[in-house]
């Protein structure tokens, strides 16, 4: 899927549509929570107001964008180059991998693996430099949080 090809105006309109639908969904859900009891406001009042704000503002944006864009074609892309897109998605994958690995392998090991991988694919080509920077940073952060600040970080099967 070539996401770089989608124009910003298409993304913008898609998001406006999301706001309208989200607003509607929030309003419907809040109605079930009771917006108003006999003599006092119910649990659904503020979420209902929030839903109205999101939905109405989204609809206003949708109509305004649609009127402004009619007759025009695609403008700038969401990602300027495929390299930018790949780097962004790789960092995201790194974060997901970190969240997935942390409870299993512990903080230190997962951090070294993920940061080394990210540094290697994003910027560096020299594996020794990558390992040095990733290992050094992870140890420094581990020392700061676990030793100095006494924060409990997830321990893996190796005990750290």
């Amino acid at each position: 899927m070539n996401l770089t090809g989608y124009g910003m105006n298409v993304c913008e309109q898609f998001l406006n549509l999301v706001w309208v639908l989200l607003g509607l969904a929030v309003c419907v859900y809040s109605s079930g929570l009771k917006i108003w009891a006999v003599s006092k406001p119910g649990s659904g009042l503020v979420p209902f107001l929030a839903g109205v704000i999101i939905g109405v503002a989204g609809l206003v944006r949708f109509v305004a964008e649609w009127r402004a864009d009619s007759g025009k074609t695609r403008v700038s892309s969401f990602w300027e180059t495929t390299a930018y897109r790949n780097r962004t998605l790789l960092v995201l994958v790194g974060f997901c991998a970190m969240a997935f690995l942390m409870p299993k392998t512990g903080f230190l090991l997962s951090a070294i693996i993920v940061t080394s991988f990210l540094l290697y694919v994003i910027d560096f080509q020299n594996i020794l430099k990558v390992a040095g920077i990733a290992g050094g940073t992870c140890l420094l952060v581990y020392f700061l949080f676990v030793t100095l600040l006494k924060v409990n970080l997830p321990r893996g099967f190796l005990g750290f």
């Binding site: 910003m8 993304c11 913008e12 998001l15 706001w19 989200l22 607003g23 859900y29 809040s30 929570l33 003599s39 006092k40 406001p41 649990s43 009042l45 503020v46 979420p47 107001l49 929030a50 839903g51 109205v52 704000i53 999101i54 503002a57 989204g58 206003v60 944006r61 305004a64 969401f78 990602w79 930018y84 780097r87 962004t88 960092v91 995201l92 790194g94 974060f95 997901c96 970190m98 969240a99 942390m102 903080f107 951090a111 990210l118 540094l119 994003i122 910027d123 560096f124 920077i133 990733a134 940073t137 992870c138 952060v141 700061l144 949080f145 600040l149 924060v151 409990n152 970080l153 997830p154």
Partner: protein
């Protein structure tokens, strides 16, 4: 005399070795954050929030405030030497600061930026000192309807102060209110939007949401930047501005301080708005407006004074009313709440060490920053040479740990990732995140004030209009909204008319029946 006595209490708190250390650490980190482009005070505060969990509340607030005003000092260094703003409030400093550096006057520009920041920071501290207790007295008369009205005013003003599209800001406010309502209802314990998922019962963790929206989104956005920095290479000399520079900068500093302080107090205002307005004013009142943009020292002194003064100004509503006026103060409010401190009118009496300690720390912090920014400027220039790939793993790990440590729950890391993606997309599509954070932090207080008011009045909404302070605040909110909308509508009409060739104003010799001339 009371103020002096309380200030002495504050100095007593901040002059302890531990608090002095955290004040220094905050100023140091703040300057570093300001110097390094790409990491603003907002991202830095959200990234460093978890570090404060294990230190005393007063020390952590002193440190976080130090980061906030320290970043304002440091931001000018990058603007002057690299022509890249270290943080958003230093954008205007690039215009004349970098031109001064190109003309061999980098030292004078850096020196004046530091002195203007110091003078404005100190003057606005005095203002904070004097105004906060007065506002506390007023705020003690506030009940739920008044709190509801003041928060409504905050949201309304935020709509048109953040810049950009008002409808986008409105969506962000709605989204912030919605996200804040997820979890258990504060009044009757009903579960909202949890869908039976236990992790959502307490709602979304504030730290995880903030770290995602600002920390992770910042990392993702930085993946689309090429790190080419053209650093001003000459040796920096003459950091002490001469008499001519002082003469040119005196009034811009005074005006910038006053403007920054008052804009800082306003909801939605803050360092960014005030620095831009100060530049515009200096250009307007200058006898030589043509010099602006080509190295006018007034264009450095005014905005730098304004953005520093705005810091103390924005702390007034936070400390005395418990209401943040911008995203940075919203994070500070979050930090106070995490530490079990409820900001507001009772803070001065219940936690005087925090209230006065923070104010006193800003006097000391300003002196520390002057020392850090003038003699040590050479070191900060070296920091500009740090490539992002060195910082990247550190920021990456801080995001992962920060979101995990607040509840020791891996679910919060996933929350951080989710909001990070949302924040990234929103920023790519030019949505301002400040209204979202403001609504997210204020959401529970807003809901409580609204529902308490309606319970007191037995569901009669006229309670908001029959109490004078509340009615006044709401009138101000809707009056200003109407005024801004009217202004925009008129501008739109003028633009439409200009495009279709219809005159927007009647000619002086216009007589009845002349409309036929148009046809």
């Amino acid at each position: 005399m009371d103020i002096l006595h309380n200030l002495a209490t504050g100095f007593g708190v901040v002059l302890s070795p531990g608090n002095l250390f955290y004040c220094f650490l905050g100023c140091l980190v703040g300057t570093l954050v300001g110097v390094l482009p790409g990491i603003g005070p907002l991202a830095a505060l959200s990234l460093l929030l978890p570090i404060t969990f294990s230190i005393p509340s007063v020390s952590s607030i002193i440190m976080l405030c130090g980061i906030f005003y320290g970043a304002m000092y440091g931001g000018s260094t990058t603007s002057i030497l690299v022509n890249i703003p270290g943080e958003a409030a230093s954008v205007v400093t690039c215009m004349d600061g970098y031109q001064m550096a190109r003309k061999g006057r980098a030292g004078a520009a850096l020196g004046m930026a530091a002195f203007a920041s110091f003078i404005a920071g100190t003057l606005s501290n005095v203002g904070l000192n004097l105004l906060s207790p007065v506002l506390v007295e007023v705020a003690l008369k506030f009940g739920p309807p008044e709190y509801f009205s003041v928060m409504t005013l905050g949201f309304v003003v935020c709509l048109f102060m953040v810049g950009g599209s008002m409808s986008k800001a409105l969506v962000m406010i709605g989204l912030g209110l919605f996200v804040s309502s997820v979890g258990m209802d504060i009044v009757n314990g009903a579960e909202r939007f949890t869908f039976g998922y236990v992790n959502l019962t307490k709602g979304f963790d504030l730290v995880a949401v903030i770290m995602g929206m600002f920390g992770l989104a910042e990392i993702l956005l930085s993946m689309e930047e090429e790190s080419t920095r053209d650093i001003f290479a000459q040796k920096i000399k003459g950091l002490l501005p001469d008499l001519k520079d002082w003469a040119l900068s005196f009034w811009p500093i005074v005006r910038g301080s006053a403007l920054g302080f008052f804009l800082g107090v306003l909801p939605g205002g803050g360092p960014v708005t005030s620095s831009f307005m100060s530049y515009a004013i200096e250009r307007k009142v200058s006898a030589h407006p043509e010099k602006f943009g080509s190295g006018a020292i007034e264009g450095v002194a005014g905005p730098e004074a304004a953005n520093n003064a705005a810091v103390a100004g924005s702390l007034i509503p936070l400390l005395s009313l418990g209401i943040p006026v911008n995203a940075v103060t919203a994070i500070l409010l979050g930090a106070l709440i995490i530490h079990g401190v409820q900001p507001g009118p009772l803070l001065m009496t219940q936690n005087p060490e925090i209230f006065w300690g923070v104010i006193a720390s800003m006097y000391i912090g300003n002196i520390m920053l002057l020392v850090l920014n003038l003699p040590l400027i050479g070191i900060w220039v070296q920091f500009l040479k740090i490539p992002y790939r060195i910082l990247f793993p550190f920021i990456f790990l801080m995001c992962a740990i920060g979101s995990y440590t607040s509840n020791s729950n891996i679910f919060d890391v996933w929350v951080m990732i989710g909001f990070g993606v949302l924040g990234y997309c929103l920023r790519k599509l030019r949505y301002e995140l400040a209204p979202f954070i403001l609504a997210l932090v204020l959401g529970p207080m807003f809901e409580q004030a609204l529902r308490q008011s309606l319970i007191i009045s037995k569901a009669d909404p006229s309670i908001f209009f029959t109490r004078p302070i509340s009615a006044g605040l709401l009138a101000l909110a809707f009056g200003s909204l109407g005024w801004v909308l009217w202004g925009r509508w008129k501008t739109n009409q003028k633009n439409i008319a200009a495009r279709s060739g219809i005159p927007t104003e009647l000619p002086l010799d216009w007589k009845d029946g002349d409309h036929e001339r148009l046809e």
